[in-house]
Symmetry: C2
Subunit: 211 residues, 2 copies
């Protein structure tokens, strides 16, 4: 069976785990390890060996019975599973503290994410270097998206303008949005949205602290 052939039925809970496996494997690779068993990897990431084998089984057979997984090979396969065997074009909209902090994160390029530009509405930061070439004015958002084929818009604007900016980005053809602004945003159907939300995270901690 060809690897990567069953993507239609991958449980959504599997996807974030794959990224953890990948990260841990890259760490092990950097330490010079060449082989790993599902048991060892499970211990490292804090899960059950069967979980790892099941997760991988949705994509193919990557191990050797009686031996385990060859790390270099498994990393390659996981990258294919996650769509990291190609590169993706991203922009950050909102060049405040948060946007700048994200732009400075070294690890974008390492996994094949090209941060092409930052956008900001405030005249005073236009043209300034915030870690990824000059900051562009928001008026140029649609044109830039269309000209560069942007895959991911990372939104770090103030709450008040976030939904409007997201609508504009999606209308201009951006197929996925990662929203850090403190609102519950929504996008129309074919687009993909993920939210990172400090307030929700704090409330979850509060719940479990209170139990």
């Amino acid at each position: 069976m060809p690897a990567n052939s069953k993507k239609h039925s991958v449980p959504s809970a599997t996807v974030p785990r794959l990224s953890q496996y990948l990260r841990k494997l890259q760490e092990m690779q950097a330490r010079g390890t060449t082989t790993v068993s599902s048991r060892q990897l499970a211990e490292e990431v804090g899960t059950n060996p069967a979980q790892i084998r099941k997760d991988l089984s949705y994509f193919g057979e990557f191990g050797i019975r009686g031996v385990g997984y060859e790390i270099d090979h498994l990393i390659d396969e996981l990258k294919k599973c996650l769509g990291l065997d190609r590169s993706w074009n991203a922009i950050i909209i909102g060049s405040g503290k948060l946007g700048t902090a994200l732009a400075r994160y070294r690890g974008f390029e390492k996994q094949g994410f090209n941060l092409l530009a930052m956008f900001d509405a405030s005249k005073s930061v236009i043209g300034k270097n915030r870690g990824v070439g000059p900051v562009l004015p928001t008026d140029q958002l649609e044109q830039f998206i269309r000209e560069h084929g942007i895959d991911i818009a990372i939104v770090t604007t103030p709450a008040g303008v976030a939904q409007n900016i997201i609508d504009r980005a999606v209308a201009a053809g951006v197929p996925s949005v990662l929203n850090f602004a403190p609102i519950r945003a929504h996008v129309d159907k074919p687009a993909i949205l993920r939210q990172v939300d400090l307030s929700t995270e704090l409330m979850i901690l509060s719940f479990y602290l209170n139990s």
Copy 2:
């Protein structure tokens, strides 16, 4: 049956949804709405009415049959469910761009989270105002935690020192950690850990973009 009495068996998937319900209800309250049905709320947050009723049923009976929910009352009950009927003491460790961005977020206090201090290892920022009173040196971390009864440590340090800082905070008695540093951290058993991870979020988007 007393509200809030069944917390032992609340599905973990329910907890983040409660925080969304609460946010949406607060929005509606601000708009002057006084009553809402599970159907209306479900439409607003993009879920199923039965889901909302089931989620609430883990905590008690908050609605009126044939009518719906009285918004003021439901907000109060949800706050109790989430442990937001009291206040929590938080600190931010790491006063870089990200830490400062989080500190400036107005919405901490609004939900009962008191941000008591920021910590940083770098001498150059000690004492500077980053939005929450002066930044303190990391040497004072343990003493401050013990003296002020810190409930939540928000970690925005560089990757290299994050695990060590988390270990120190937990050892000093912090029962919960929200980690923004780009590593997969771990904490010893009774402590609670949540991770916010740009790299994982990007990989999840990559996976679905690729499908």
